[in-house]
Symmetry: C2
Subunit: 355 residues, 2 copies
């Protein structure tokens, strides 16, 4: 086995290590550090306004000449059901009151925002784009490919991987059940039904069914995980949690500490924060909201309804009322520079391969 | 990396491949074939009467001179609640009627059966015993160790692995969430609460926290999985589903075909068949019984209540009313000899390591 692969050539990177999008927690420093260390940094643009996206890309371009990616959330047709929003607002009232927060006005501009992001990506010459929550429409894929932008899709099942390949993605992330944060699933996707296939099962079955490069994600934190993923047939790895606790990450100290202090059994998959299932450390907000499991408004509505509450809670050091996305390997999380993390992984992987 | 390890020396086997207990589906031929091929065959004795256990051990000893193991279910204190059993019998009536099956008399002799099994294991000179559902009492462990019997425990969390090590187990199976059949969990263990940590997360965290040999289980079907597991720090692998579809397995053709025809998303974790959570292919019985999720009698009661129904269903080719344990990698299942399976895995692993 070798650490260089088709995908390192395709993405023009030295090491097959991708830093996951992690919307809300990436910084230009993190993205550039990972890319400068030889991996692929990713701007987590899922929640960005066009203006913010433009700024972040500019900043990253100032910090690195090497390839980096932008991760986007693919919009889907979702219904705004006023009654559901009213109910949720009533349940969220105690939290808003605690922080003196106004009820937000929900916007349904997700699709417009996505299209604006595509324009910015083309204008700014972004070399690589990754997608979560689905596959963009064919005309968008063709526009990006015409500009020689490399496309990375996300799949939680073999069927989703095949759909990504058919749509023209160059690379597909196999997101195993261990992964922290949002499930990338787009075939079925409620908290009860979202596919949760472990990385050990998902990767080899996916590799057997698609010809494009497969990147393993979920539970991978170190050189052991990199070599294991390559053995399963992946050409590289994507890591979120491992980079989330790094020095350059935008996650708060509260958030980083919550991960470091947690155990492998502490996470659950829940849709109560954003309306889409995501893996995070269990806390009071999840427990309280579990009652209304069937009545949570869809993403992006629920995300907008809870966003200010989560920010306010994090600001005052309240880990019980904010999301704490984490994968199932928190015992392997380290508070070190993303640069050192990449270096250590490659060193450990090479030692394993040469042992 | 090398395929020989501390554990191959400890178990006195050539290859670090353990065939999982798979109560109900192992045959002496399967056990002996795996051992003769250089791995470790395991008699799945979980449901055996003392007489049956004695017979199976004798038969295996006739078929191989090499080490093999016996897998036992560790009994736990469970309550027989007459009301719960009455309700379940009412819900099961339509199934019994369909097959002309009498209501069974539930026996609570699990503990006695376990103690008898320990005597037989000592008398017959069984070299290795593995345990599922917990850790036996200290006096039993000491009696087995005094006879130089090697002990293998099962853990689904780091805490359970540490408990196994403290109790004196020589080896611990890290059972990842991908694994088919019963969850070995003994800390928390209801369908809702049973820990489901993916193999990619579980193995390296476990290796970091215990000094005894860790064996990876869950989703592993081929040489790729073996090398991946070794990279994560495991000293070997345990496979159930991969051996279940082998020629020598005792599983019915119905059962084997159900696995071969299924996809990675087709399994669920359910307690409706036996009273303990187990991963199997979703079917009508699971759907119907899901309604009574909170009212399923504990193992071994529910197991006894549904056992004859499941056997009768399997006999008439009804895959909807019987258990179909399977892990999350059914696309990798093969109908080949267990001997060839072991040989292929070692060949593929060596090719990967030398590539």
């Amino acid at each position: 086995m070798r650490l260089s692969s088709r995908v390192t050539g395709l993405l023009n990177i030295k090491y097959p290590i991708i830093q996951a999008g992690m919307a809300g927690s990436t910084t230009p420093e993190l993205v550039a550090t990972v890319s400068n260390a030889g991996g692929l940094g990713t701007i987590g643009a899922g929640y960005f306004s066009p203006h913010r996206l433009e700024q972040e890309i500019t900043y990253v371009q100032e910090l690195t000449d090497l390839p980096y990616a932008v991760n986007l959330f693919v919009p889907s047709e979702k219904l705004y059901i006023p009654e559901k929003v009213e109910h949720m607002n009533a349940w969220l009232r105690p939290y808003r009151r605690a922080f003196n927060i106004e009820e937000p006005v929900v916007n349904m501009t997700e699709k417009q925002q996505f299209e604006d992001a595509i324009e910015i990506i083309i204008d700014k010459g972004v070399p690589i784009v990754s997608f979560t929550f689905g596959i963009p429409e064919q005309d968008i894929i063709e526009r990006l490919k015409a500009r020689h932008i490399t496309l990375i899709g996300t799949a939680t099942t073999i069927e989703e991987a095949i759909a990504n390949e058919h749509a023209g993605m160059d690379v597909v992330i196999a997101q195993g059940s261990e992964a922290g944060g949002h499930r990338g699933a787009f075939s079925e996707n409620t908290s009860q039904l979202t596919p949760l296939i472990g990385t050990m099962s998902l990767v080899p079955q996916m590799v057997d069914h698609v010809n494009i490069s497969v990147i393993a994600a979920g539970g991978i934190m170190d050189g052991r995980g990199l070599v294991a993923s390559m053995a399963l047939g992946a050409e590289g790895i994507q890591m979120g949690t491992a980079f989330l606790t790094s020095d350059e990450s935008g996650a708060s100290e509260l958030y980083k500490d919550a991960i470091s202090q947690s155990e492998e059994t502490d996470t659950v998959v829940t849709n109560v924060f954003t309306g889409k299932p995501a893996r995070g450390i269990d806390n009071e907000f999840i427990h309280k909201m579990k009652e209304y499991d069937d009545e949570i408004p869809d993403y992006p509505i629920q995300n907008q309804l809870t966003s200010a509450i989560r920010k306010a809670a994090a600001n005052v050091g309240n880990a019980q009322w904010t999301h704490l996305w984490s994968g199932q390997s928190p015992r392997l999380a380290q508070h070190i520079s993303a640069w050192t993390l990449v270096e250590n992984i490659i060193k450990e992987a090479n030692e394993l391969l040469n042992d």
